[in-house]
Symmetry: none
Subunit: 401 residues, 2 copies
Amino acid sequence: MDTHDLTRTLHTKNESKIVMLVADGLGGLPQHPGGPTELEAASTPQLDALAKQGVSGRSIPVLPGISPGSGPGHLALFGYDPLQYQIGRGALEATGVGLELKQGDIAVRCNFCTLDSQGRITDRRAGRIATERSGPLARRLRDVSLPGVELIVEPVKEHRFVVVFRGEGLGGNVEDTDPQATGVPPLEPAARDEASRKTAEIARQFEAGARKLLADQNSANGLTMRGFAGRPELPSFGRVYGLKAAAIAVYPMYKGLAQLVGMEIVGSPQNLDEQIEILRASWEDYDFFFLHFKYTDSTGEDGDFDAKVKRIEEFDAAVPAVVELAPDVLIVTGDHSTPSMLRSHSWHPVPTLIVSRVCRTDRCQSFGESDCVLGGLGQFEAKHLMTLALANAGRLSKFGA
Amino acid sequence: MDTHDLTRTLHTKNESKIVMLVADGLGGLPQHPGGPTELEAASTPQLDALAKQGVSGRSIPVLPGISPGSGPGHLALFGYDPLQYQIGRGALEATGVGLELKQGDIAVRCNFCTLDSQGRITDRRAGRIATERSGPLARRLRDVSLPGVELIVEPVKEHRFVVVFRGEGLGGNVEDTDPQATGVPPLEPAARDEASRKTAEIARQFEAGARKLLADQNSANGLTMRGFAGRPELPSFGRVYGLKAAAIAVYPMYKGLAQLVGMEIVGSPQNLDEQIEILRASWEDYDFFFLHFKYTDSTGEDGDFDAKVKRIEEFDAAVPAVVELAPDVLIVTGDHSTPSMLRSHSWHPVPTLIVSRVCRTDRCQSFGESDCVLGGLGQFEAKHLMTLALANAGRLSKFGA
């Protein structure tokens, strides 16, 4: 019996509104021992005020010591055990560019590469071809014809694009064709099980067809394929929580992840101001709002402590407009830590707070890694956050008599 | 492998005594932001002294955000995973009125209802008939004769009573007969599996027989049946912990729950003084004592902050008599929170403390929700409390070499 077995049977309806603000990669590390983290160095009067009113703690995205990617990080925040529900790379990439996968689809991450006259790879990323040039090339590949299989091709960025095969009897268990080396040709797509033989054959035909269409190119004249994967089967937010949920995100990846759990993507915001505007405009239409802020992660990945501090302050400044809407439950968290010192996602627990009328306030006076250690939420697995959200919203009835 | 697989093989015997004081619904919420909870508002010099000596923390009854009923709340305190072991509604109701279920029994929650001359329900609760009137009517139904099956009928309260069918080959998988509507007759009892067909047939006969015996009634002239359930199979306290355990409780529900895990019910106390007296008198006869105090929950459910404070103070005043017996391990906890603000069970973690010679004292100086956040037990699932009790009692040997 898992948490969803409980929430599915216990959830009830009311008029409450729940807002989850996710600052991607929020948690950090000090620049030198004893110093403040990015969040602690930032001036965050709004978040500090929430920490005073609410209950704080630190969430473990997956398990102690495990640094999650965006997929597992967000699934956990959405209450889906990230070890139970795994999203294949191809499916995540397709999701990231806004493709809505259907059950039975197989999605593949593709890279343009440069082949020499012998068909050997000379550059695995086609000289990191500019997006302006690679986009039209990827779209050109839509003309490859595959017998009995619908082909969807979508540019991603630079040398990356994504392909979806839609048809009957396609398994997702196919080896990558990227040899992870130059001087050798791409590998043949090889099925790892019987159910994926047709997929491997279709992938071979696609690669051959694409190469013909790219024959006039100097650098992007070949491709490799990685991360073959079908759509993950995730029970919907509506089903497991009884929530009508909206996702307000700038980047396709986070829209896609939200869509996989059944949220509706609202608006096409380009920045935080527009996200807040959409939140306000759609306030009456949903029970739950997921609002994603990317730049706390990207500045961390850039290794830029000061830039991350600035982005946190920008995020902080957006809080009053959310508070003004008077959500019944307001959550501030991240999907993982991205310490600028590490220039990468990390396993460190993520500062998290919940404000509601019934949240049992603790003694935390500010929002930061050190203060959260003293918070009333304690240290908890992120997958429990949604259950806490529902409880604070008065949307869960009692378990057992 | 679950905790019981460990304790079953690791438990050892010694002369230690363990006392678990359970203040039902102990945890609370402040009346206004920043104020004290009921426990913090109460003057509790005895509990504060224990907090100084012992180690504190907060227990999660089931999972974060899940508000438990009494059944799962107590099973967790007794070390039984409340998600793994579920007690059916009928079995819990029977337990609540002091019926000792045997393996193979099927218990059913019944409601008196009012039927019109066509047999259609006009009032699903028979006008919430007074207990004084419904009790004799329920007892009258003991005269229904069922071929080859023993019938036990016990009044509960107002329109509610409980029925137990005792016989061979009775499965518990039968649909409710309450249509949850008026203007329609009660449903026929329908078996959901082959093993429950006899139960459904017996239930039909019981209903028909009961209707004849109620024919002279105006309001309570029919009945509906819900929550068919057998006795849950719970491994005994003796088996999993090697403890001879006593339950000292005023209310049948808690005696019943204790009995389901193999505790002996000691005495028939009517109040806390009598419970303490029984504890003293039976001190030499048991290893473990569960002492249940109801009124911290009932005052919380009444929404009466001040009354809950008073009940906590009453509970506090009983502590010295327990301490005087010099238990090797003394635990103070609750099965869940019941904030008077919510007038209901809640999901909030429960202040918990353990005092023993080896408990690794923390810095907590008083017993309350905020202080427990800083306690050495941290935040933990209630199902681990019994293992901690055994460890503190020196009753568990090492796991692995």
